[in-house]
Symmetry: C2
Subunit: 201 residues, 2 copies
Amino acid sequence: MKEIEFYFDFISPFGFLASRKIGALAEKYGYSCRWQAMLLGVSVLKVMGMKPLASIPLKGDYQFHEMKRNFRREGIVLGRSLDAPPAYPVLAGRAFHWVEHNRPDLAERFAIDVFNAYWIDDRTIDNPEILGSIYAALDQAADPLLDALGNGEGDRLLRAAVDRSLSLGVFGSPFFRINGEPFFGYDKFDQMEAWLASGGW
Amino acid sequence: MKEIEFYFDFISPFGFLASRKIGALAEKYGYSCRWQAMLLGVSVLKVMGMKPLASIPLKGDYQFHEMKRNFRREGIVLGRSLDAPPAYPVLAGRAFHWVEHNRPDLAERFAIDVFNAYWIDDRTIDNPEILGSIYAALDQAADPLLDALGNGEGDRLLRAAVDRSLSLGVFGSPFFRINGEPFFGYDKFDQMEAWLASGGW
């Protein structure tokens, strides 16, 4: 098995940045890539007991500067402001994991479309109708997804996925596992490339 | 002016890793490099209100794994265990800033020797005699340095340097400023190289 697991929170700017590059890296080295939504609100705030990044003196300001620098470098023009209040990502996470469970072949495409809806088109991703319309645009019937968002199935799938990610030590966004070897952070692309090219060290 | 400022805490493993690479990067692009000791205990614990990294669930374990992976990649054989209790870095910081103030031409060399004493030779760097002997090995008289460690001058110089670093937004180790542009973390070498090669973006 040659697999990269890619963990992200839809409202994480560094997760979005990583989502634009991970597919090409996996493909270059013949790895499959398994996309997995997680929730920073659970790992960082609840499990780790930390404060939201933006509220941490010095580091909050620095990270904001670094985010903007990264988007500038990648030439990505955002539709929403990086300092706008973030959406509540739970509904998008439930929708993703329902898609991942039922149509794993569509999971990456669905995640990319949700990321773009949020960051490029500034759409409200904590809304079932919008999530349903994103899924429908993949030539799928939206009703089963909307049912899963309403009847607790999406909630159950997301909780199981978040529990699994925590049990693997995943705490941030983006977080990667290359055949189980963990790499945290958007800055790790060069190290991951070296790891993939060399077979590890 | 083409200057890279390099901020580090002597007891930071990532700071030590960075200390082995920053000189070559600066030289490659014709930059001078100004080494500056800082104190994580002031920035992270006091100003930012965070807990020590090792005590943070999930992240502490991950960072420990990443440290070991980085040292392995660089082929650095440590004389002290990464999970041994850290030394108290204040005395080494005072000694460094006294050297930096009085003999700036020796500051980088002194810092490298203190780093190696601690990480490679597992010496106790919170000890005036050892710091004096490291300075004496540079063909210098140790007495003025020992006086500065005893009479408050070293303390004053370190406090001023830490205050200055905080005023510039420096919070971690390693932290770099390339003509004022901030980069945090050991993982930033590739981004810094791209910044230097391109003139920024």
